[in-house]
């Protein structure tokens, strides 16, 4: 076990070093979520929409920001999967597989780095939202982060699985990321409440695990720890994490 930890630390160090050397890259990677936050969020507030959360601008922000954080966790790992794909097609992953380093650590270290990056980005997003008028609940925000971290671990691992099985062309990776990501996002109520749509849409949304995570994040963000949605969201996030890690470490162990 200490070897696994040490190897994971080694892989984590390798992956995090470029980010630390030029942290600007991490900020640029947040471009899309920030755009949605500032532009879409401001419009949403302007419409005075009833989002089923009561009324008031502050409430709209508290409703919208957790969704944007989830959105970031959906998109962030894709970049990591893309890097993995190019390292699989180049000789880099092969180079690590020839060393005695634990195969599992190759996934855990990378996933760890993705999660830390997302955590830092989530803090930045929250920090941007406060001056826009969001009411900030510290314990709630921290609890939301924990939930998001669990989901991020799973999504990052899943994007590695996808990269591994879509070698060498990478077609599968592109198809899934281009075709799947927007429906998953729209159908989880990140941008607008799913309830606003017709019944069939809500029905479809209930099959989307991300929906539960978004609902849980919203409940946690305002400090509503006992909301049953929190439990459902945690279950969904944990399921994604466990599934992702099992599939990814298995794919990596089988050799690439």
């Amino acid at each position: 076990m200490p070897k696994l930890l040490q190897d994971t630390a080694t892989v984590f160090c390798r992956e995090i070093t470029p980010e630390l050397r030029s942290p600007v890259g991490m900020v640029f990677a947040m471009g899309q979520p920030v755009l949605f936050l500032v532009l879409f969020g401001s419009m949403l507030v302007g419409t005075d929409a009833d989002l089923g959360t009561g009324t008031g601008t502050a409430d709209v922000w508290q409703w919208f920001v957790p969704g944007i954080l989830v959105m970031m966790c959906l998109m962030g790992p894709l970049g990591a999967g893309h890097t993995m794909l190019s390292e699989l097609n180049g000789g880099q992953v092969e180079r690590f597989l020839v060393t005695p380093i634990s195969r599992t650590s190759l996934i855990l270290g990378r996933t760890g780095k993705d999660t830390v990056t997302l955590f830092a980005q989530a803090i930045l997003i929250t920090a941007i939202a406060v001056p826009l008028g969001m009411r900030f609940h510290l314990p709630g925000a921290l609890a939301t982060m924990v939930l998001l971290v669990v989901m991020a671990v799973g999504l990052s691992a899943l994007s590695y699985v996808l990269a591994i099985i879509s070698r060498p062309s990478g077609n599968l990776f592109w198809i899934v990321t281009q075709v799947l990501i927007f429906p998953v996002m729209l159908l989880s109520g990140i941008l607008l409440p799913v309830d606003a749509g017709p019944g069939w849409l809500s029905a479809v949304a209930t099959t989307n695990p991300v929906t539960y995570i978004v609902d849980a994040a919203r409940a946690l963000f305002v400090g509503d720890f006992l909301d049953p949605a929190v439990f459902h969201g945690l279950v969904a996030a944990t399921a994604i994490a466990v599934l992702g890690l099992i599939l990814a470490t298995r794919a990596m162990r089988r050799g690439v």
């Binding site: 050397r21 180049g90 000789g91 180079r95």
Partner: protein
Amino acid sequence: MIRAEGLRRTFTAGKETIEAVRDVSFEVAAGELLALLGPNGAGKSTTMRMLTTLLPPTAGSAHIAGFDVAREPGLVREVIGYVGQRNAAGENHRIRDELAIQGRCYGLRLREARRRADEVLELLGIGELAGRLPGTLSGGQRRRVDIALGLVHGPRVLFLDEPSAGLDPHSRAGLWEQLQRLRREQGLTILLTTHYLDEADQMAERIVIVDQGRVIANGTADVLKADLAGDRLYVTTSDTDGARAAAALARRMAGIVEVTTEDRTVGLRCADADAVLPAYLRLLHHASVTVTRAGLRRPSLDDVFINLTGRRLEQPGDPSGNSIEEPTHA
């Protein structure tokens, strides 16, 4: 140190089954340098990937330093270094960082890993590139980084897949100097592939030629050339009648494997041209055949391959082509 027995590996691409390696067996003794030669697609890289635990063999077995590649991959990985055909340094990572991480993968402490990183960079003459990203390096510089990555942990057995591809003659010579030094000082065992026949000829103690997934020759360069190619000897006479007479005389001599005539030139293939040439000239003199030119050419590994398969290994105009003068082929 390396033992491959009946290695075989097939790939499936769609419905098609590709037999990349059909039957490869050879041994490499401790401290030996063996070159694996063969045309593109012969199965050299696939063989290497099986020996380095990257690919499980479809059949057959392999041992490195006594450890079974399939059953004890962890132990094999501890003792080997591998430089693959593709680039190994990550695009977003500085060279020195990558080398230190590589050392950490083999369990070196951080300080030790950093020290080794600087050491191998100096060894390969790329110390000044340590802080750069791979994307800013030339092809040959990148190749040297790859080699540095394979050396950082001080392996006992080194696998090099086309290490000299893309290096200029000066860097190639430098690389060989380093490799020979590592062998002298640390008794490193090396298995490498190359398309530069001259370097295999000069540097490798033994050569294994593979073609279509099978070993077709195995021996020292000298033995392969003597057994499978032979020296070539050329004599040009003053007229075609002389050439005909010269050819007839050659056929009667002992030890001549092959006689060919083209216009006024007679070509012989034999084992020891140094001894045959004076004797042959004396014979021609007594028969009053006027010789205007005479010469001999040592066989190249390319000749060995042509003799085995009827195809050339080297492309005409290949920069690695043997520099020895090339008389018209008979």
